[in-house]
């Protein structure tokens, strides 16, 4: 008799909703004439919100489906909400930007939404083949998005660099998966962990090699040093809303799968993995921050700062217990709102073509547009980790989780790094408030959609920073069943 596997299609309802939305947007692009950019953006927003509702309906259901290939535990659901929040804010950032750059093509929203589907699969994958497919579904649209401004050479260059690096990394990743399959005979996380712990003799070198190759693959995606060389070029060349999406979505998705791998599949060999992650964390934080100090271009500066933030998140991966994972989730939520806010201001202050993105171009901004300067300062304070902002609470949570597990040196290095980072974040503030105005001609209008994104982000930064209690509860609940 043929055994019918347990499918349980209800656990992918959020993905299905996003997929249907994406297809509707494409159909609108094909079959309607005239102005459809706004209609498509509204469809995208509705789809994201409905999908978020579907995700929140699954809260505490702990369902799994497709023969245990996908799981919808609270950990995965929390990550899905973070991706959807990131996508929502990115759509708000994009509406006006692409109108200004005169590239209003509806495929843009289709690509953003397809990439979100990949991230959602990645966060709920409980098996290596699914994780690989999720990663590719996430990455392929991102390569196209990086080159979306196809007449601009910088954007072309960003797309090609990102594509070569990404495809190269996928090669390492699948090779790693192959070795783990060869060493354990399975690709399911629970079974891998069972096979590893059932063996009495030391660590299988094939297994360790497989893990290192997988780590290299994901390190490219989440931009850990020394696999970060593509980040500044891609972030600078890609259209700014896409850059904002790059720095929140793929990074969070990479951490989702790394957490699940390290907590579930490789828990029995945790002892030999931690030193590798420790070194990666220190390198990523330090190199990211030190190079960011020398940057003159705001997008490049934010690119290096996003590498440094990945380093802080790696600390929580080294800690590896419930406290570390909840700190990482909290930090990712905070990081999403503050990064989107900072990129929102960059979009607001840029002119068509974005020829000048130097930090000095913001000289004297506070005299002309005090509100924009104050909000930008808020995001910079948050990224630097100064109270009472979300960034401060997030960093505090991560460092205290490191100390509670005994990683004192890691916490010290993290704190030193975050002190270094204050210098380059505050330079933006100093330039805006204390330098004389040099660019009298910089025209700024205040489009509604962009304002919505920036104001939502600013409220988020302050709300998470001043009333973190509810967020702590939420991230703590999202770890039920994982430990």
């Amino acid at each position: 008799m043929i055994q019918i596997p347990n499918i349980n299609i209800s656990i992918i309802y959020p993905e299905i909703i996003i997929f249907i939305t994406a297809v509707i947007i494409l159909l609108v692009e094909i079959f309607s004439n005239g102005k459809k950019w706004y209609a498509q953006s509204i469809i995208a927003l509705i789809g994201i919100i409905v999908s978020g509702y579907a995700v929140s309906n699954q809260w505490n259901s702990f369902a799994s489906g497709f023969s245990e290939v996908l799981v919808a535990d609270n950990f995965a659901l929390m990550f899905k909400l973070i991706f959807l929040l990131g996508a929502l804010l990115t759509v708000f950032l994009s509406i006006w930007y692409f109108r200004r750059e005169e590239i209003q093509q509806g495929e843009y929203f289709f690509l953003i939404l397809s990439s979100v589907i990949g991230m959602m699969i990645l966060s709920s994958a409980n098996e290596l083949i699914t994780a690989f497919l999720g990663l590719e579904v996430m990455s392929l649209p991102l390569y196209v998005l990086a080159g979306f401004d196809k007449k601009k050479l910088l954007s072309n260059e960003a797309a090609l660099k990102y594509f070569i690096m990404g495809a190269f990394a996928s090669g390492f990743l699948v090779y790693g998966i192959t070795f783990i399959y060869g060493a354990t005979g399975t690709t399911n996380f629970d079974k891998i962990s069972m096979v590893i712990s059932s063996r009495s003799f030391g660590i299988d070198p094939l297994l360790l090699l497989g893990f290192i190759l997988i780590l290299i693959g994901f390190s490219f995606k989440t931009a850990f040093v020394p696999f970060h060389s593509w980040v500044p070029d891609v972030y600078t060349g890609a259209p700014t809303p896409v850059t904002a999406f790059f720095s929140i979505g793929p990074k969070a998705a990479g951490f989702a799968i790394l957490f699940r791998l390290i907590i579930k599949a490789f828990a029995p060999i945790g002892g030999s993995i931690i030193p590798i992650l420790w070194i990666l964390a220190v390198l990523t934080m330090t190199v990211g921050n030190l190079i960011a100090l020398t940057q003159r271009n705001i997008k490049r500066m934010l690119a290096y700062s996003s590498i440094a933030h990945a380093g802080y998140l790696l600390i929580s991966l080294v800690v590896g217990n419930g406290r570390g994972a909840s700190a990482a989730l909290f930090y990712l939520i905070a990081y999403t709102v503050m990064t989107v806010g900072a990129f929102g201001i960059v979009i607001l202050l840029g002119e068509k073509g974005e020829k000048d993105l130097s930090i000095n171009g913001y000289s004297g901004l506070a005299y002309r547009y005090p509100a924009a300067a104050v909000v930008m300062s808020l995001f910079m304070f948050s990224l630097a980790g100064i109270p009472p902002t979300a960034g401060f609470i997030g960093k505090f949570y991560i460092f205290s989780s490191a100390i509670s597990k005994g990683f004192i040196w890691l916490a010290v290095i993290g704190i030193v790094n975050s002190v270094i980072s204050v210098y380059y974040y505050l330079r933006v503030v100093v330039v805006m408030f204390m330098k004389p105005e040099i660019q009298a001609g910089r025209v700024v209008c205040f489009p509604v959609s962009l304002m919505v994104a920036i104001i939502l982000a600013a409220i988020g930064v302050l709300q998470i920073g001043m009333f973190p209690q509810g967020w702590f509860e939420a991230v703590r609940y999202s770890l039920i069943g994982l430990f």
């Binding site: 070569i164 996928s170 399959y181």
Partner: protein, 101 residues
Amino acid sequence: MSLGLAHFLVLSGVIFAIGVIGVIIRRNAIIILMSIELMLNAVNIALVAFSVYMRNMDGQVFVFFIITVAAAEAAVGLALAVVISRNRKSVDVDDFNLMKW
């Protein structure tokens, strides 16, 4: 001498290394794309070898997924190469030096 698992793994390792070296030292974007395909196919050899050796079908199923993904990657990569060669009349990666840190 009969062929064992080790022979296939060595073959796969050698092909993978050729792919990696190709990505690193070649300067033409199309050849880099071919080297990436070589890496993925090396993985396929190892997967099939493991799968046969362990009498477990998962590996061979994964090979089909990898072939599909490789096709999708090639489609995106070639499309990007077409756009770039239209704008710059060249697909040499050494020409892409607009940005330096």
